[in-house]
Structure formats: C-alpha cells, structure tokens
C-alpha cells in the first residue's frame, strides 16, 4: 500500500488509530462469516464524523476502495474487504450522545452496542426494540446498514421502523443528514433507502433511534414437541388464531443439544424433536387469556410439555439460550454458516423436511433455529473449514437451500443482508431490469463504487458497475432517485 496514504491517514488520526501491520491486519480479513476472507490494506479507527469524511476524501483522491465496519458480527460478509483497501472501523465512535426520554428518542454514535441503548434508557422505563441475537455485541451502525431484525421484530418491526434520523458521510466524503427526529422525513424518504443498504450507499456516523416504553406485562412460553411437523403446524395455527406474539421462535433438537451444553443452558427439553419459544406482551389485562389460548393451541398440536416462565429470571434464561444458540454451535462443530432465507409460514413443515433431505444427501449436519413467526429461517450448516471437501459441500448446500426457499415463494434474506455471501443468488428472485434499477439507485449514492465494492449485486454486474456520475447533496440524490424510479434515464 501507498506509504504516502498511510502517512496522511496517520496525520489525520494519530498513530494508534491506523493499523497496517501484517499480523494485525489478519484479524480484519473477515467478519462473523468466515467462509470468505481477504485482508484489507489498512484499518483506521476514527473518533469523529469529520475524521470519517477526511478518510473518505483521501480514499477518493487515491482511488482506493473503503468500507465501514462495526463489531464484525455480520453474517453475510458485509464488512469483508474483498478488494482490499481501507476498513473504517467505527468502534471508537461508541458514545450515547443524548437521551430524550420525554420524546422517546436517543442520539447515538454508530459503535454503540445494541443492548447498551436499552440498558442506558432502562431507568426511564424505555427500551430499543430490535433485538438481533448478537445484541450484546453488535453495533447499532451495523444494525442500520443491514436493517437487522431479531425475535421481537415479529410484532415491533425491523431496524428501519426504529430509526428516525441519521448523519452520514457520503461516498465522496461529505457529511449529510437524512430523516428527521419527528419521524416524518422532509421530502423523499431517503432514510428508508439507506437503512438496509449494507454499507454500500453511505457511512452512517450518528443515529437517532426511536425508544419504546417497556410493555406492562410479558408472558413467555416454552412448548416441546415430539415431531418437527406438529411443531411447525403449531406456528401457523398460532398466527391463524389472530394472535400477534411479540416473538415466536423455533429451535430443533440439534440446537437444543448445543445450547444445553453451553453456559446459556436454558432448560430446553433435551428429548424434544423441536420446541417453540413464544412471547406475548402488552397490557396486563387479557394477557393471561392470550397465553392460555396459545398453550391450548400448542397442546392441540400435541405439544407434550408447555411451560410458562414464572419470573423475569426464568424468562431471561429462556432468551439467553435462544440468543446464544448460534455461538453454541462451537460445542458440536468447529465452523458453521448461518443461512437467512425466508419462506411463507404455511410451507414450514415441508421445507424443513426438504432441508433435512439436503443435509442427509451431503452428509453435513444442519441445525435449525429461527424466527418462525415471520418465516425467517436460519438453517445452520455445520462443517470443518479446514476440509476443502466440506467447504465445497457448504457452497452446494447453501445454494440448494436458498433455491428451495425461493421455489416455495420465499426470499434470500430476512435480516442478515445479501453482502458478499448471497450476491450471486440475486438472480433467483430479481430480473435483469430489477437489478438494473437497483444498481442505478446505488450509483447515485456510490457513483465510483469505491464504497464497499463487490457486494449485494451478482459478480458479473459488480465488475462493470463503475459509473460516471458524482453527486453529494441530499437534495440532488433525492432528485436523481426520483428520476430513476420514474423511469427517466439519469
């Protein structure tokens, strides 16, 4: 890498915020998806938005790719520096800037850990709703990039429903704002385009999040089944009964085995073929009846054990088990890849059977732990990354599983993003012209494709994605997006 650039970065950030030692760079060659790796040329750790902007301008001058990174807990390779360049690690921007309890919002920097927001506002009886399983480590900036979900998104919506405004650095290095703390954007809802753009439109440097009052009461049930099919039928029956659980989670036997062997042991039934973790919340009045109704539906689907958490501690344990489930796979396998496909809820029974068949055929185990309520599957393929034969099988299996889900009317990703991992699957659900339109929107924000290149779009397209246009102001971006969506050629 260009010494001159490194020196300039050191001038902007100070020596301890620029990493270019070969050994140190190794740890930045992947995020939580370890199947794909590539070392960045340099990692920088800015503390202010202005520093981020300066880094971006410098990268533009030197025509070097750059990308943001949070806690590196992403599962689709969003923070993978596939073409090298500069990783802008935002973990030192981890301050909660302000809390406005009366208006139920907080301003935070992107490196703030998801759960730290809820902890900080707990004294006001508030919390931040989206709760990805990695919430004790993942950063809110990463959540915005990926439009992260979590178990409770079934009732409360995804990240995008909880972000009021952001400050961001454009791909050209200007600091701009999107959205408005009132929740009503002025002009076009560009914020909606940015949340979930996987770090390919802008680099988010400050976030205003919506806070919710804690529900008055919560009931958490654990239902155990001897058959996967009865368990998945139960999911559909709960929803069909008109009940809106705040969460409806599925864990299979393999997941139970791993969780129960871990520090997050939750008392999941070890002899079950599958179990459901179901939560309802809201006003105290009537909640008892709702949870009784759910228990009844479970029993009707031959649940052999339905347990209701008796206190907050038991409830917390049940959830810690669920949220530690991905990591707990290390108990039974050296590597795993977490898939993220979505299917129509009613197809759950047959899809699970089909996934099992794929698993049998390839001879690699698949554990299933997922957000059943909204049909967001997380098949975890377990393998040994040191074995090339396993790695090839993983590629084959993940493609087949995604195909299977798409064929029954589903989609590629529920909440982890397309990133690098699933970009070549995009053709399964989008036509050429769909992809073209999306690419043109991306070019408006990221005309030179220097910001987080080779992500989201299929490889062939990414190679030729270099555009000619260069814009920065919010107003102009809005105008150009409008033009594209109206079908006018920009």
């Amino acid at each position: 890498m260009d010494r001159e650039l490194i020196n300039k970065l050191r001038q902007i950030l100070g020596p301890s915020a620029v990493i270019d030692d070969e050994t140190e760079l190794l740890v930045y060659e992947c995020d939580a998806l370890t199947l794909f790796r590539n070392k960045p040329d340099v990692v920088v750790l800015p503390r202010t938005s202005e520093q981020v902007a300066q880094i971006v301008r410098l990268a533009n001058e030197h025509r070097i790719p750059f990308l943001p990174r949070g806690a590196g807990t992403g599962l689709s390779g969003g923070a993978l520096a596939i073409e090298g360049g500069i990783i802008i690690e935002l973990q030192r921007m981890n301050r909660i800037v302000s809390i406005d309890a009366e208006n139920r919002m907080a301003v935070v920097q992107p490196g703030v850990v998801n759960i730290h927001i809820s902890q900080a506002v707990a004294p006001y009886g508030l919390y931040y709703a989206p709760d990805p399983s990695s919430q004790m480590s993942c950063s809110i900036g990463g959540n915005v990039a990926e439009n992260s979900g979590g178990p409770h998104c079934l009732k409360y919506g995804m990240t995008t429903n909880h972000i009021l405004a952001i400050e961001a650095v454009t791909s050209k290095g200007e600091i701009v704002r999107f959205g408005h703390p009132s929740g009503e954007p002025i002009g076009m809802d560009l914020l909606g385009a940015i949340v979930g753009s996987e770090g390919t439109f802008v680099i988010v440097t400050e976030i205003t999040v919506r806070l919710l009052p804690k529900p008055q009461a919560v009931k958490t049930l654990l239902a155990a089944f001897h058959s996967v099919e009865e368990c998945s039928q139960c999911v559909s029956d709960v929803i069909a009964a008109g009940i809106v659980p705040s969460a409806l989670e599925f864990v299979d036997a393999k997941t139970i085995e791993a969780v129960e062997a871990s520090v997050y042991r939750a008392g999941y039934p070890r002899d079950a073929a599958a179990a459901l973790l179901i939560e309802v919340d809201g006003f105290r009045d009537g909640l008892e009846e709702t949870s009784d109704a759910i228990a009844e539906i479970c029993r009707r689907n031959r649940a052999y054990n339905v347990r209701i958490a008796t206190d907050d501690e038991e409830r917390a344990r049940l959830w810690l088990g669920r949220k530690g489930a991905f990591g707990a796979m290390g108990r039974i396998s050296p590597d795993m890849i977490t898939m993220d496909a979505v299917i129509p809820r009613t197809r759950l029974p047959e899809v699970l059977v089909a996934i099992d068949r794929i698993s049998q055929r390839y001879g690699l185990p698949v554990a299933n732990v997922f957000h059943a309520g909204d049909g967001n599957l997380h098949p975890l393929i377990l393998f040994d990354g040191r074995r090339q034969d396993h790695v090839s099988k993983v590629f084959g299996m993940s493609e087949e599983i995604v195909k299977l889900c798409v064929d029954v009317g589903g989609s590629l990703s529920g909440e982890h993003g397309i990133g690098y991992e699933k970009k070549d699957f995009m053709g399964m659900v989008f036509t050429e012209s769909d992809l073209d339109t999306m690419m043109r929107v991306k070019r408006v924000f990221n005309p030179d494709a220097l910001l987080n290149p080779a992500k989201v779009f299929p490889t062939r397209r990414s190679c030729t994605e270099i555009g000619k246009h260069s814009t920065t102001s919010t107003a102009e971006i809005g105008k150009r997006v409008q033009e594209i969506l109206l079908g006018e050629k920009p």
Binding site: T23, E24, K254
Partner: protein, 431 residues
C-alpha cells in the same frame, strides 16, 4: 439424522486431547463487549475473538510471533470475562497461558526483562512495587522466575533504596507456616489453609480473619509448612516450566487424606490451584478439594455467629478470577448481606475487570489506568463507604483508585467484614 453427521468437534470431542482448543470458537463475536481491552481500544486484535484468531493463525503457520503479536497477547488482562459469556465454552484463559508459554519458549525470557526496563524502571512507584513483589518471590519459590529473567541482578542493588520509599505498600505478616488452629465448639472437620505470598506478607490480617472465621464455623485449620507461591503469576507470564514445578511442590505439601478442603482467600491463587490439572498430571485429587473461602463458608454454620452489627454502605466488586475463573458470584454477596445492619449496594459492572490483573497495572500502565477510571466512576455512583473484594491485586488497585479520585473509601476483603461481625478485635480502620 445424527447418525450420518459427524464433523469437527463431534469427532474432536472423542479425542479432546488432540483437538486444538481454538476450534471451539465459531467467531460469533458475543465476547467482544465483555472484554475490557476491547471496550477501551475498539480494535479486533485486542478482543478475545481477535486474539484467538491470531493464535489459530500462528498454529496454522499464517502468523509469526512478531512484536505486535506479543503485544496483543500480553495486553490481555487474562480476566476471562469472555469465558463467562462464550456460548461455545472456549477455554480462553488456558489457551492464552499456553500461547504465552510458546512466546516465552520462542523468544527466550529476555524480553520480559526488556519489558520491565521499559515500563517499570523509569517509574518510581512501579519500581517499588515490583521490588517488593520480587522480595516476596524470593521467599516463596519463584527464584527461578527471577533467575530466568535476570531481573535480580538488575534489581538487587536498588532494593534497599526502594524499601525506604514505600509508604503505601506496607508489610503486615499473617499466619505462621506449619501452624494449627482449633475449631470452636463442636468440630465439623479439618481444613488446610493456603496462605498465599502477597496475602500473608502484606495483608496479614486478612489471613488471620479467615482462620478466625473457619474456626468459628467449627473447623480445625492447618497451615502446611511446605507450601509455596501458587505459581499464577509465572503461569500468566508464560513461564510454564516454573509454574509446573510450583504446582508439584504445592500438591506434595498438603496432607490430602486428612483434609475436608483446602481454603484459599485470594481469588487469583484459587483459580490457579483449581486448574493445576491443566498443568500437571494427577492433580485432580488436590484441585477438587480447593475451595474459595466464600464458597466454603456459605455452606457452614457461620451465619449464626454473625452478630456484631455494622452500619455501613458496602459494595462488592467481583474479582475476575473468582467470578469468571471459578464461577463464584452469589456466595460472597450472600455472606456480606448476612451481616446485621449492613446496607449492601450492587455496583454497576461489578463483574468487569478493575485493570489490576497481577502485574498488568505495571506492564500496561496506561491501559490499566483507563480501565480503572471507568471502574471508579461506577463506584462513585454507588455512594458506598466500604468496598469489599477478594483479591490482593484488586485491593491495591482500588486503594490507588480511591486516592486518585479523592474518595473516602475503605477497601477490604469480605472476610474482614465478616470477622468483624464475629466480634473480632483485630480488624483495622474505621469499621
């Protein structure tokens, strides 16, 4: 389905001795925010996941033991908070100690000496502290550590001078070795007491309080004469051979068949004694008898003896090697809350490291002080008069922190408060 499926760890578990421990890590990152150095520095190399990644890269021949590699391995506090949150149960502390062993093997111990020269000698108080520690080591079987590193040669001439300048770190002797104390009332059994080097020479009243509590609970207490330093500091520094020898000496020093338990009141030493099986063969019988004093007392009749009331706001800070190393969280709290009149206050982030970590506050002073500052801010918020914690290094660190923040805070070991409640006469200070 399970019949067909066999990968990685399912195979490895059957052959656990050979499987590299880093394979347990699936790179999920749940450990990140538990790590004190990551919370301050925000870079992956100073997170548990990053350190494991580097260890694996070394093992696979992709990384060498460079200066930066060494730096990140030794910047770890070895607090093991990551183990408490790890869903995969990665044995991080053990991996770190082995890795440090490899570093020492490959680089010789000369670098430790260099480290001392760079970070210790230029600073008077650090030097005094180390000099004092070394003096203790000489009496506690760590001679080899000193010989290996060549430190004695450099330190000895200045030792006497340092003595005179040491107001904060005093010497207060505790129990005589090879002594025996009788149970009060009906005898429940016999325990041995592991006296520790720092505890018994610098914080002697804590050992005396401990014995007082054990005898009040109905136990005869023996203090075996041949015991030496537990070896934890050597082990954390990567001096595996020395640590192994020390383990063997200690195992031989205790008459196991006559004992119901071996009691230790310093959590760092306790974690080490319980993990001797990771270092030497045949240590299982010894280690299974080791109990932290709080862990032991909580199941005795000591509660009926806690009578003298105490009108103080008392907070408790979890020593890392007690809460993360030994999984002991509730026992000290249960005991403290049993003291009549006490106002027990839960401190936010009580299970996060204070930055002391053996000699870390000396070798990595800046980082240690930043970690301490964050800790002291939380302690200030708790408005307490007394802070109880069960490890000598942490106690020194907190006393320093209280001074630095201008706080009136008495830092004690939980056993001092408990012994006071027995009506003991020798506890000191304002309590």
């Amino acid at each position: 389905m399970q019949d067909v499926m066999l990968t990685g760890n399912e195979i490895n578990h059957k052959d656990a001795q050979k499987a590299p421990l880093y394979l347990d890590c699936v790179h999920c990152g749940l450990c990140l925010s538990s790590c004190p150095t990551y919370r301050v520095l925000g870079n992956e190399m100073d997170s548990p996941r990053g350190r494991i990644y580097l260890m694996r890269a070394y093992d696979e021949g992709r990384a060498k033991i460079t200066d930066s590699f060494v730096e990140h391995m030794f910047r770890c506090l070895d607090c093991r908070a990551c183990e408490t949150v790890c869903p995969s149960g990665v044995h991080f502390g053990h991996m770190m100690e082995e890795m440090r062993g490899k570093i020492v093997d490959e680089r010789s111990t000369a670098w430790i000496s260099r480290l001392m020269l760079k970070h210790v000698f230029p600073y008077p108080w650090r030097f005094q502290f180390v000099a004092r520690m070394l003096q203790l080591y000489l009496h506690s079987g760590l001679q080899e550590f000193v010989r290996e590193t060549g430190l004695l040669r450099r330190v000895a001439p200045r030792m006497a001078a340092a003595e005179a300048l040491m107001p904060d770190i005093g010497m207060e002797s505790g129990l005589a070795l090879d002594s025996h104390y009788r149970a009060e009332g009906r005898k429940q059994g016999t325990v041995a007491f592991f006296s520790g080097c720092v505890m018994n020479s610098m914080l002697g009243s804590i050992n005396r309080s401990s014995v007082r509590l054990l005898t009040a609970a109905g136990y005869d207490v023996v203090v075996p004469g041949n015991q030496i330093c537990c070896g934890a500091l050597a082990n954390h520094a990567g001096l595996r051979t020395t640590a192994k020898q020390m383990a063997r000496s200690n195992i031989a020093a205790f008459p196991l068949e006559q004992l119901d338990a071996i009691i230790i009141n310093a959590s760092g030493c306790g974690a080490m004694l319980k993990e001797y099986p990771l270092l030497v063969d045949g240590a299982g019988a010894f280690s299974s008898k080791v109990k932290d004093i709080a862990e032991f007392l909580v199941s005795t009749r000591i509660f009926e003896r806690l009578k003298t009331p105490m009108d103080r706001r008392v907070g408790y800070d979890d020593p890392c090697h007690l809460v993360h190393g030994q999984g002991i969280r509730t026992e000290p709290r249960t005991l403290l809350k049993a003291i009549p009149g006490i106002q027990f206050v839960e401190i936010e982030g009580a299970d996060q490291c204070c930055g002391s970590a053996g000699i870390y506050n000396i070798t990595q002073n800046e980082l240690s002080m930043e970690i301490l500052d964050r800790k002291m801010e939380k302690i200030q918020k708790a408005h307490i008069d007394v802070l109880a914690t069960g490890n000598p290094g942490c106690m020194f660190q907190f006393r320093y922190g209280a001074q630095k923040f201008g706080m009136h805070l008495e830092v004690v070991h939980p056993v001092e408060l408990l012994a006071h409640s027995l009506g003991a006469k020798w506890t000191k200070g304002v309590i």
